[in-house]
């Protein structure tokens, strides 16, 4: 596998909004490359820019300026090859776990048998067998996020976007879910773009970290994380990188 192959490319992306009759720049001239099958983390302070970049890649909003290229071709709007795990889990409460996970294949018009099979595979992968008939409101926060991950995978995306998926979880669950995501990513290699504001989480998961500035967002630095997996969070090199990134991060107010 050619790991240096560029999968997704952002070229001079800018985004601004009009808030109270003033132009508010959310992102300015952001360019980056995402390699095939890599785990890329977008790290940045506060709530500025990261989610907006992800939403633009997902096709939920259009950039004011710049282009997004997938496999060398510009994409406009949402693309079937890109899946997303939302910050607020956004499971459909009226659907069972199974119905949520099989949503993507169902939308594509896949027959019931094969799509159930696929959904079951990913339900098992995230460790939720036995909960197929449960409704999201019967599940804990961590379990809901697992369903959300299974749903994204079941649609067989080439690129998986994860928007601060563990932001709402307690610390214990968060660590467990970070391990889970790493395990799943190693089982089912996809290109992952993961947004977080947590340096430790970024270092634990990432092949590369793209550090963004505070508002408006632009790329401040890119770090290659070459530590072996699973990572030891008290390894001296891990701590050194953590300090380095921390010193380079803007303060979020």
């Amino acid at each position: 596998m050619d790991s240096e192959k560029v999968k997704l490319k952002l070229e001079h992306i800018s985004q601004s909004y009009i808030v109270n009759n003033q132009v508010f720049d959310a992102a300015v001239d952001v360019s980056m490359e995402v390699r095939d099958s890599e785990f890329l983390v977008l790290l940045g302070p506060g709530r500025c820019g990261k989610t907006i970049l992800l939403n633009m890649i997902a096709g939920l909003e259009k950039p004011v300026d710049g282009r997004i290229l997938l496999d060398g071709e510009e994409i406009k709007g949402s693309d079937e090859r890109i899946g997303m795990v939302f910050q607020k889990r956004a499971l459909m409460p009226w659907k069972t776990v199974m119905q949520n996970v099989e949503f993507g294949p169902k939308i594509k018009g896949m027959a019931k048998e094969p799509r159930r099979e696929i959904a079951q595979k990913y339900i098992n992968l995230v460790g939720l067998q036995g909960f197929e008939k449960s409704y999201p409101d019967e599940l804990s926060g961590g379990m809901k996020q697992r369903v959300s991950i299974a749903r994204a995978y079941a649609n067989d995306p080439e690129i998986l976007l994860m928007d601060e998926p563990f932001g709402a979880l307690d610390a214990q669950t968060r660590y467990a879910m970070e391990e889970e995501v790493q395990r799943i990513w190693e089982t089912e290699k996809r290109t992952v773009i993961f947004v977080t504001n947590n340096i430790e989480e970024a270092l634990y998961l990432a092949d590369r970290i793209v550090l963004l500035s505070n508002c408006p967002a632009h790329v401040k630095a890119v770090y290659d994380v070459k530590l072996p997996r699973p990572r030891n969070t008290i390894d001296p090199e891990f701590l050194r990188l953590r300090r380095e990134i921390s010193d380079n991060t803007d303060l979020a107010l």
Binding site: L60, A90, M92, W94
Partner: protein, 273 residues
């Protein structure tokens, strides 16, 4: 005896929980008893203008014996219910469809929304004169008036539910590349079920109220007719008896609707538990 033994092993907290749950079971019964006492108190004495519980009870027994217009009490209740059911069935089908149309399609809403809002302000009973002129005083005009009364809440709630689907749910549709039809059927309509059911609940109680009023304006059957009959003949225990029946049936209808909601939308039931 067995129950008391079990309680010995309960923790302080569990005992309080048990007491709490008992209180909630006792409270409604206590309220009904209190109301009965109050009723007895105000209807005491020769000069009281309030029909006493015994008078109402006797009126009930007499009605079982001697039907009015060939129908007993339950016959009249059933006559009213039949009108409501027919009207509700039509109001739900048409109201939900219309609500989805103006909730989903902005052009349809721009076209029909204002007219609908204006019609909504007209109380269903204001239609009585025109409807009577057009269709006489048979079954159809009564059902029609109930239909008008039941339609409004269904349309309003459905429209609001469909038009205000949370953005995150719509985003899921976008991410998974759903087309317009799938957006509507897979996301918008199910997410609006709560609102639609609120409309169904309101339309049921509205329909039940309107049918009684419609029956008071003419007819030979129904609980509303019984009230008019009681008024005309000075038979006030009959009026009060009918009112009690209206209350009880209304209550039962609400329970049936709640039960329906649990079956059709199982996720809402699980949330409230």
């Amino acid at each position: 005896m067995k129950k008391e033994k079990e309680e010995l092993f309960l923790s302080e907290y569990e005992r309080r929980e048990l007491l709490q749950s008992r209180i909630y079971r006792v409270l409604p019964v206590a309220a009904i008893l209190l109301l009965l006492l109050l009723w007895v108190a105000v209807s005491r004495g020769e000069a009281s203008k309030f029909p006493s519980p015994t008078a109402v009870w006797e009126r009930y027994l007499k009605l079982l014996d001697r039907p009015i217009k060939n129908l007993g009490l339950f016959g009249h209740i059933w006559a009213s219910l039949q009108r409501v059911f027919i009207a509700l069935g039509a109001a739900w089908v048409i109201g939900i469809s219309f609500g989805i149309l103006i909730g989903w399609n902005k052009k349809a809403n721009a076209l029909l929304g204002p007219i609908f809002t204006a019609f909504r302000a007209v109380p269903p009973l204001a239609w009585v004169p025109l409807v009577t002129m057009w269709f006489g005083i048979g079954e159809f005009p009564k059902v029609l008036i109930v239909f008008v009364g039941a339609l409004m809440p269904v349309v309003v709630n459905t429209q609001a539910g469909i038009a205000n689907v949370q953005k995150e749910y719509m985003d899921i549709g976008t991410i998974f590349h759903a087309n317009g039809r799938q957006m509507l059927l897979e996301i918008a309509i199910p997410s609006a079920f709560d609102a639609i059911f609120a409309g169904i609940r309101n339309s049921t109680s509205a329909g039940w109220m309107v049918v009684l009023a419609a029956e008071m304006l003419g007819g030979k059957s129904g609980v509303g007719f019984l009230i008019v009959r009681g008024m005309d003949s000075g038979d006030y225990p009959l009026c009060l008896l009918s009112m009690i029946c209206i209350g009880v049936v209304g209550y039962l209808l609400a329970i049936v609707i709640q039960f329906l909601e649990r079956i059709i939308c199982p996720w809402t039931a699980k949330k409230s538990n």
